[in-house]
Point group: C2
Chain length 496, copies 2
């Protein structure tokens, strides 16, 4: 293990960067701010200005405001801040898209520096022949895809989390989205190489630009899903997928069980490679969409599947026929197929307005959005039990699922502190239900503050301790995004 000059080491028995971090005093925080101001132009400390950098309207977990927000424009900027943070022992958190849902970018109670990465949003290189591009971590996936479209490059980046999400956050949370059925997740092979500033200020590149490599275990992967606790990603090389024509089909069912059993068969049909995604939207959500005024038509208020089919014209037509036959067999009572670009976009628009339609469906409400994931065959049971739970506990809300991979989202609504606590209980029971079904506490939103209490139950203390061991080894002062991800329980290996 490297020795650091005069730095407390993790080896001293009384010191643990996770449970007993030794962060700087309020005076140290002020000294750090003075030093930051001497180097950077854009250093914000006005509490009102910096509040949104440490607080998300979409998260209901307690966190503190940051002490200071610094805008960065290069990897070198980030190195300077990391070195100042280490000098004064001040926690560091990165902000970019600000769309995460589990309190990922909240501040630290004893004072913290927020690195605003949103200005680092450039595409640096596009290698069309190799289907990859290099961008800064503040770039947003939608902007990247728009740029490719504008330049007439028939490629796209297929990970599609919430609108506004930036590449850095997508890496940090190990995101995915509706396309995961076909394209997998951030934990797959879409990130070829990352530029990372380590807690010791060193800059590394995790890999090269080859599409595959067996040169050891892939260090890229430890930063994916680490929620900014192991290093600060400043640039990424993204693998791109060929853009192919896409159409949308909507099928409506008697209940979720019938819908899900149709999905299993669709995903195992000879046309499975033409299925880009399969979304389940429950009857409550359909009603909310109908009532929202966001779409020009009404759907029957039933549990529904929204299916994206892609390929050549012939392949889409054939796949649509196969899908239609399967959903009919499973008792579908409704069928829409957008056989043109416009028709597909119009149908998919209904899927896109889910969140806002849900909130609008209960006037004066706010939404707690949560997700879990279970083995696909368990999904009907999960949906049925969750709907029953919501009925019994008087929780209003809607359900939408990336049903192709067992990922389940609930948008739970509340209008008062009392209803908020009611929702909190429903979320807790939902997670416990998913874990009972051999599932995970989060399929794509991440852990942050909101889910860390479940990690030991989900993964076991040994696996959590491997995570913590890596954290302690790579960030021995515990400066990167403290309080997030790692459970508070003591999982340390006992003497043998």
């Amino acid at each position: 293990m490297r020795k650091r000059n005069e730095e407390p080491t993790v080896e001293s028995a009384e010191y643990d960067p996770l449970t007993q971090p030794r962060f700087g005093s309020p005076q140290d925080v002020q000294s750090a701010i003075i030093e930051l101001k001497s180097i950077f132009k854009d250093v914000q400390t006005d509490p009102e200005v910096i509040l949104p950098y440490g607080f998300s309207e979409n998260s209901y977990h307690q966190s503190a405001p940051h002490s200071v927000v610094v805008s960065v424009h290069s990897t070198e900027d980030v190195v300077k801040i990391v070195n100042i943070a280490r000098k004064y022992r001040i926690p560091l958190t990165v902000f970019a898209g600000g769309t995460s849902l589990e309190g990922h970018f909240g501040g630290y109670k004893s004072g913290s520096i927020c690195i605003d990465m949103s200005g680092m949003d450039k595409i640096l290189e596009i290698h069309q022949d190799d289907s990859d591009l290099v961008c800064q971590a503040g770039a947003r996936w939608e902007d990247i895809n728009h740029t490719l479209e504008e330049q007439g490059i028939p490629l796209f980046f297929p990970l599609d989390p919430g609108p506004g999400a930036a590449i850095g956050g997508m890496i940090a949370t190990g995101c995915s989205g509706t396309n995961a059925v076909k394209y997998g997740t951030a934990k797959g092979e879409w990130f070829l190489n990352l530029t990372v500033v380590l807690p010791n200020g060193e800059v590394i590149k995790t890999r090269r630009r080859a599409h595959k490599s067996s040169a050891g275990f892939d260090i890229t992967k430890i930063f994916i899903g680490a929620e900014g606790t192991l290093g600060i990603v400043t640039e990424a090389t993204l693998k791109l997928a060929p853009l192919v024509p896409t159409r949308v089909a909507v099928a409506q069912f008697k209940d979720v069980e019938h819908a899900v059993s149709a999905v299993q068969e669709i995903l195992h049909s000879p046309s499975n490679m033409n299925i880009q995604c399969v979304e389940l939207i429950d009857d409550n959500m359909i009603k909310a969409i109908n009532d929202s005024g966001e779409i020009p038509r009404k759907f029957a208020v039933k549990d529904s599947l929204f299916i994206k089919i892609q390929g050549s014209e012939t392949a889409i037509a054939e796949a649509a026929k196969i899908v239609k036959k399967i959903v009919d067999k499973h008792g579908a009572s409704g069928w829409d197929f957008g056989s043109s670009d416009e028709g597909a976009k119009a149908l998919w628009h209904a899927r896109k307005v889910c969140l806002w339609s849900s909130i609008a469906s209960v006037p004066g409400s706010r939404a707690w959005t949560t997700d879990v994931c279970v083995p696909p065959s368990k999904l009907p049971e999960l949906v049925r039990e969750t709907k029953e739970d919501m009925r019994q506990s008087n929780v209003l809300g809607t359900i939408v699922g990336h049903v192709g991979d067992g990922n389940f989202h609930a948008i739970l609504l509340f209008r008062s502190d009392e209803e908020l606590e009611n929702v909190r209980g429903a979320v807790h029971r939902l997670v416990e239900r998913a874990l009972r079904m051999d599932g995970t506490c989060t399929g794509e939103h991440g852990v942050g503050l909101g889910k860390k209490e479940y990690l030991v139950e989900e993964l076991g203390p040994g696996t959590v301790e491997v995570m913590k061991t890596i954290k302690r080894a790579v960030d021995p002062l515990g400066l990167l995004n403290p309080g997030k991800l790692y459970p508070d329980e003591d999982t340390r290996w006992k003497k043998k």
Copy 2:
């Protein structure tokens, strides 16, 4: 950091498990063997019997024989051996399929225990509805796919490295194979969960059975490509893909450049999702196949593409038409299409006999098989320069590439020690060439003993040091597969 009872810790300045390991004496090795014999039935120490467990005919890197080989049948067996190895400080290496190419399972000079995992080859659970199965690490991918076929389950495991490879080794090397164009590699999302025995004897499961999870960084991934240096994988949950009809097309070209430019266009056509793999076989290899007597026909001796097309009958027919049009545009002079199951199998058989045909093409020769991977657009340059190098340095051999993802294999032949050294030089220059092209020293074979000298150049000292930091933290005694993977250079972070 956990404290271990009376174990040297990595913190003592003079101790580094990677560069200054403190392994047991010859007497300790004997004591360990006595203890192993008291617990296990199948403990082999006869030098002739155990030689093949530490020595591969396909690797030309110096290594030592093991001291003892123990057959295991359960995770608990492995725990017992790990605990004995820790007690006496004896290095531990796992053997299963024995097909690796870079000296991965060689023994250690001061004595080592080899765990023979080949008897742990059972499929434990098949979850057809969830497209996954649980198996032991000694199971071979071909046996798994045969079992699924025999049971009439229309699913398969798509990673296809060399015949005989076992799941544990496939994880250890981060393997892939011809199917990687469509299905990706072991570093993707095919391994849902691993059961791992850690160096401290603890058994962990890295994840649950959900198809995706954002519950922190994925500990599964640190074991993939770690070559048995971080933990011993005993069981794995594999994600399976739907089995779809497959056909084979062969197109022949004037030169590699024309072949590769056709591939780029094929992989970006609207039928790209129907392309399962694209293999480049050079003219020398075609000649070797023709001469082998292994196939009932002759191909024109030209640089050729072997393309697997999959999907419904209609989709295959359409894709074949599109592919034909593209290869014609790029000057293809030959075209074969196996439009039936048998026709496809007959054509693909030619691809399968590559290695043995190459060896047979030079009587009395042995083969050094090596691989590198570059960004796909660099492949023609890599092939051209490598062929020129082989001509100039009088190295005989053939070239075959998973050209869809820039992965290049050379089978280099030699008949004497002198020719072997000549081949060694050609391999070295090939790796340097790939690194100059922003590529990797190995696309799918792994590092082992043979490629570790290239890791610092490829990844940079900082990234290598992160790998070593994780190794030291997880295996502080350095007992797991010492000498493999990690470069010998001192990359330790200097004081700041």
